[in-house]
Each structure stands twice: as structure tokens, then as C-alpha cells.
């Protein structure tokens, strides 16, 4: 692991009007690697992703440290944050059916990222976009450029999303359940495209997912979250040596081809896991 891009210490997030914190003291660092954040619904994993981009209106975010490269994310003014989002840090959202603007052409939406951050002609942005669409393995990019989101498939939509988020060449990409909304058949394809682009360009990746197998295959390191806490951090290759009973439970609940034909284990949750990790 080379230079650290992201350093998070004791991150706490509380939504407006909520009595409890959604994220309670999360700490981790990230280099130019692929980090998976795994947890069940409501464990706060997506909230962490959005907090890094400061896209949680009304929520209060505190941390001992929240550094992204040379920036203190908590101290940054909103105006400066606009130059970070999309350009240096971006996020791939879950479902292209909802995350693309239904009434604007696909290509214009992708090109917008480039136009927002670089002074250039429309022509130049168009060419960059076409090249990027081709990089995410879209054949006939010129045609797709002119289509509307409802005219393309989900797998194609998610590739468009990847193109949009990588176009300005960011240093960190957060992928928030990037394949959960897709057909099983195209998941692997989309992930492979994302994986190769991230590796080639040396981009730091945070992959937020509830799918332990997926994260194991596509990440270097895994953070296990439960109820707003990180319960365990492991290398993806050493997942089987997990110490925490919650992680062990998650692993036991995974079906495996060729595994014993018994009913899958049911997770049991213990109240003491709720206490914060020192």
C-alpha cells in the first residue's frame, strides 16, 4: 500500500431529527487500493460514502480527522467542495433507472462532468465522452450518446454511470452497491469493466456492498460494519480467518456450491456488538 489518499478517524454522523447516530465512530485509511465496506441494510455503510462527498443535507458530521489527500473535508467550504466532487472524488450510484436524469440525453449527462471541471469546447467534451463510453465497452458510442436513459438497458446504464464518474479522472471512486440493481448475468461484466479501469488508472476504490462474495473477489481489504460501527477490518484473502462472531455469522450464511446441503446458518445478533470499538 503506497501513499494514503483518505484518512478517516472517529467519523460520526447523525441525521436531522434522529435521536441516535447513524454512524458511530468509524475509522479507516485508504491508499490506492480497493476497499470493500460490507454490512446489512441500515448498518450505515452508504451513509459513510455520502458523508465523504458531504452530500447529507441537514445531517451533522463530526470526526477527529477526515482528510482526503491534502484536504480537510470537514473544513472545506461548499464552493471548494464543488471542485472536489466529480473531479477528485466521485460516486457510482446503485440503480441507473433512477440515477440518470430521464429527460436528458445520455451523452450530455456524461459530458456534463467534463464541462463542469475543464475549460473546453463542446466538441472536445463530446470526443472525451465518446472515448470514455468506448472505454466502458459500449459499442456504437455515438448512437448511445444520443439516446435517453429509458432507451438503454440496465447494464448499459451502469456502464454509462461508470463513464460519467471516471471521466474527470478522479483519485477516489465510491461505488455504492454498483451491481445490486442489475441482472445477475451482467453483474460480472460491469464489475470487470469497473475493476480494470480502476486498476489501470490507479484510482482508490471504496466498494459498498452487502454481498460478501463480490467484495471478496474484487477488493483488497474489507471493512465489516454493524449498526454504525466497524466491527472488523480484514484482508480480502484472509476473510476466512475472521475473528468477530458477526463476520463469522455472515460467512456462514453464504451459500456455496459444493458445500454441505444443510439449511444455511441464521445470523444471531448480540447487544454487546453495539458498543463502540475503541
Amino acid at each position: 500500500m503506497d501513499k494514503t489518499i483518505l484518512d478517516v478517524q472517529n467519523l460520526r454522523i447523525r441525521y436531522a431529527g434522529s435521536p441516535t447516530e447513524a454512524v458511530r465512530g468509524v475509522s479507516f485509511t485508504l491508499g490506492r487500493e480497493r476497499l470493500g465496506i460490507v454490512g446489512e441494510s441500515g448498518s450505515g455503510k452508504s451513509t459513510v460514502g455520502r458523508a465523504l462527498l458531504r452530500l447529507l443535507p441537514g445531517a451533522s458530521i463530526t470526526a477527529d480527522r477526515l482528510r482526503f489527500e491534502d484536504l480537510d473535508l470537514l473544513a472545506l467550504k461548499e464552493r471548494e467542495m464543488l471542485k472536489v466532487r466529480g473531479r477528485r472524488m466521485s460516486m457510482i450510484l446503485q440503480d441507473p433507472k433512477f440515477s440518470l436524469n430521464p429527460i436528458r440525453r445520455v451523452g450530455d449527462q456524461v459530458a456534463e462532468t467534463y464541462l463542469r471541471h475543464f475549460k473546453c469546447s463542446r466538441r472536445e467534451a463530446h470526443d472525451k465522452t465518446i472515448a470514455m463510453l468506448e472505454a466502458v465497452k459500449i459499442r456504437d458510442a455515438e448512437r448511445v450518446f444520443k439516446q435517453y436513459p429509458h432507451e438503454i438497458s440496465g447494464g448499459m446504464g451502469q456502464r454509462v454511470m461508470i463513464a460519467m464518474m471516471l471521466l474527470a479522472d478522479p483519485d477516489l471512486v465510491i461505488a455504492d452497491e454498483p451491481t445490486s440493481a442489475l441482472d445477475v448475468t451482467v453483474r460480472l461484466q460491469v464489475l470487470t469493466i469497473l475493476d480494470s479501469l480502476v486498476r489501470d488508472r490507479g484510482i482508490g476504490l471504496i466498494m459498498i456492498s452487502h454481498d460478501l462474495n463480490l467484495v471478496r473477489n474484487f477488493c483488497d481489504r474489507v471493512l465489516i460494519m454493524y449498526a454504525g460501527n466497524v466491527v472488523e477490518t480484514l484482508k480480502a484473502s484472509e476473510l476466512d480467518q475472521a475473528q468477530h462472531p458477526y463476520t463469522q455469522g455472515l460467512l456462514a450464511a453464504q451459500p456455496r456450491i459444493g458445500g454441505p446441503r444443510q439449511p444455511l446458518a441464521v445470523l444471531d445478533r448480540k447487544p454487546e456488538w453495539l458498543k463502540e470499538q475503541a
Binding site: L53, L55, R85, S90, L93, N101, P102, I103, R116
Partner: protein
């Protein structure tokens, strides 16, 4: 090709249901007309006509026939553009109405522009600041506009802005001494005066238009504000708004470049409907401002009981309403790429 044919089929089906509604509309105005206690024959022949004359007119009006037959005759007349003659002016009612209509359209169009700009911007402001003080202020301000009796606000505004401050023109469409100076070409005074090159008349007309139009616009903005706010709130909860923010767009850019595009179609629809309800306010405000338009024509005929004129006015408002509904539907189909 196939899509455009489907679209046409949709419009055709709609035209069918509109025809039924129109027929109902005619029935309604016809029967309201027959409800009246005043005797239409007396109105024509006068108080001291002989019995024969009375009978003759009674028969010539078709009043001796059963109601449904009378209705069919009425229908036939309407189809051929004959809405009867005004007792007061002796002219065909429809000609009278066509003559006063431009004044009302000018007023209502100006008002809807004011109402739409005010309503949309307040609605967006309220949605973006949901449950914070700008939202509450917008809510009270727009409900206030919706609650005022517009004929009263018109008077108060005349007292303040015309009588005391002298900022705007008073009653009528222009200052007295300009009347008759400009030829009636389109009936829209702002356009006619410019066509004639009479800028003085233009400014006078604008000066007279601004106060009633602003009041009408303000009163109609409540509905537009509320709908804009709710449409916008829907959009702001959508994921594509987050996408735009992730790309680095500011909140303002996200709202106007992304979210607003998605409510545009709905806005056109409700603004078209608001335009229709403006006619209601126009009836009252025209009375206060002595505006020689449709509303004043309607109320002055109401008071003298000229039912031909009144019923034709009511019918025309109904037709305008249906037409606006159809128009907003067509605009919807044109503007939304998903229906293409």
C-alpha cells in the same frame, strides 16, 4: 411512425370524450337559460304588445314545442355559430363577445406571466428550504394571495397606488384622452398601439394594465406555488439529483439544469389550468377597474337579465376550460421524451 400513430389515436379518443363533455355543457347552459323566471317573449315584444304579437313571437321562438325539441334547435343554432342576439345591443351575441375578448385575454395573459414567474420561483424556494423559514413565509404569502377577495384588494390597491401615490393608471385600459387614437387591429391594445407607432398610448396602456394584472397574478400564484413546491420536492428526492451533485454541480445548477426540466411538463399543465381560473378573477377585477372586457360584459348583462348573452359567456368559459385541458395534454405529449 408507429409511435406518432399511437399518439394520434390517443388524441382521437380524447376528442370523443371532449365531444360528450361539450354536449353536456350545452345542455347545462340551455337548461339554466330555461330556468329563468323572466319571460323572454316579454323582453322582445315589450309590455303593451297585443296577444297576437305575443303568440306569434312565442311560436317563432319555438317555445310551444317540447323542451328536447327546443334543445335540438338550440344545438343546431350553436353549430352554425348562431348564439342569439343581445337584447341590449341588438347585435349577435357572439360578435359582442369577440369584440370584448381581446381586452380580457391581454389582462389574463399578463397576469398569468406574473403569476407563473412568482409562483414557480416561490415554489422552488419553498421546496429547497422545506420546513425552514423561507418555506413558511412563502406558504403564508401565497395563501394570503389566495384568500383575498380580489374585488376588495383591487379597490384598496387603487386607493393606494393610484389615488395616493399616483404610480399607476386608474380605471380603464388607457387614459381618457387617448381613447380612439389607435385603430383596432388585433384588439390587443399593447400591440395595436405599437403597430400604430403611438408609444404614449402604449405606456398609458401598460400603466393601466399593470395593477389589475399584478393582483390577478398574485391571487393565481398560490396554486402554482403549492404545486411547484410539491413537484419539486418529489424531484429533489430522486437519485439523479444526487448524481448531478456528485458530478460537482452546485445545488442551484442541479435544481435548474436537472430537476426543473423534469417538472417543466407538469408545470405547463397546471399553468394552463390556472389560466382558466384567472377568468373567474377577471370577472370581478374588471368590474372594479372598469376594464372593458369579457367579465364586465358578463356582469353588466347579468344585471339586466340578458340571458342569451349570459349563457353564451358561460358556454365560452366552459369551452376555454376544456380547450386548455386539451392543450395541456398535448403539450405534455410533446415535451416529455418518454411519451415520444
Amino acid at each position: 411512425m408507429l409511435f406518432s400513430r399511437l399518439r394520434l389515436a390517443g388524441v382521437a379518443g380524447q376528442l370523443g370524450s371532449i365531444a360528450v363533455t361539450l354536449l353536456g355543457l350545452l345542455m347545462l347552459t340551455f337548461f339554466i337559460g330555461r330556468l329563468m323566471p323572466a319571460d323572454p317573449v316579454r323582453a322582445i315584444v315589450g309590455e303593451d304588445a297585443t296577444r297576437e304579437t305575443y303568440e306569434q313571437v312565442y311560436t317563432s321562438l319555438g317555445l310551444d314545442r317540447p323542451l328536447y325539441e327546443q334543445f335540438i334547435y338550440y344545438l343546431g343554432d350553436v353549430m352554425t355559430g348562431d348564439f342569439g342576439t343581445s337584447i341590449r345591443t341588438g347585435q349577435p351575441v357572439i360578435e359582442d363577445i369577440l369584440q370584448v375578448m381581446p381586452a380580457t385575454i391581454e389582462l389574463a395573459t399578463f397576469a398569468i406571466i406574473i403569476g407563473a414567474v412568482l409562483g414557480v420561483s416561490m415554489g422552488v424556494l419553498a421546496a429547497v428550504n422545506k420546513d425552514r423559514w423561507p418555506d413558511h413565509i412563502v406558504r403564508v404569502f401565497s395563501l394570503f394571495g389566495h384568500s383575498m377577495p380580489i374585488f376588495w384588494t383591487g379597490m384598496i390597491a387603487l386607493i393606494i397606488f393610484y389615488a395616493h401615490l399616483g404610480l399607476v393608471g386608474g380605471s380603464g385600459r388607457m387614459d381618457q384622452f387617448y381613447i380612439g387614437l389607435v385603430d383596432d387591429r388585433t384588439g390587443f391594445l399593447l400591440i395595436d398601439s405599437l403597430l400604430a407607432g403611438e408609444t404614449d398610448v402604449f405606456w398609458s396602456a401598460l400603466n393601466h394594465l399593470i395593477l389589475p394584472a399584478a393582483l390577478l397574478g398574485y391571487s393565481s400564484s398560490a396554486y402554482i406555488t403549492r404545486m411547484t413546491r410539491s413537484f419539486m420536492l418529489d424531484q429533489l428526492g430522486q437519485e439523479y439529483v444526487t448524481t448531478a451533485r456528485v458530478k460537482g454541480l452546485s445545488q442551484r445548477q442541479t435544481i435548474w439544469l436537472h430537476a426543473f426540466g423534469n417538472i417543466r411538463v407538469q408545470l405547463v399543465t397546471i399553468i394552463a389550468l390556472a389560466y382558466g381560473s384567472l377568468l373567474e378573477g377577471a370577472v370581478l377585477i374588471e368590474t372594479v377597474f372598469a376594464w372593458p372586457g369579457f367579465g364586465q360584459y358578463l356582469t353588466s348583462n347579468l344585471i339586466i337579465g340578458d340571458m342569451n348573452a349570459v349563457m353564451t359567456c358561460v358556454l365560452i368559459v366552459g369551452v376555454i376550460f376544456i380547450g386548455l385541458n386539451l392543450l395541456s395534454d398535448i403539450l405534455y405529449r410533446i415535451f416529455d421524451p418518454r411519451t415520444r
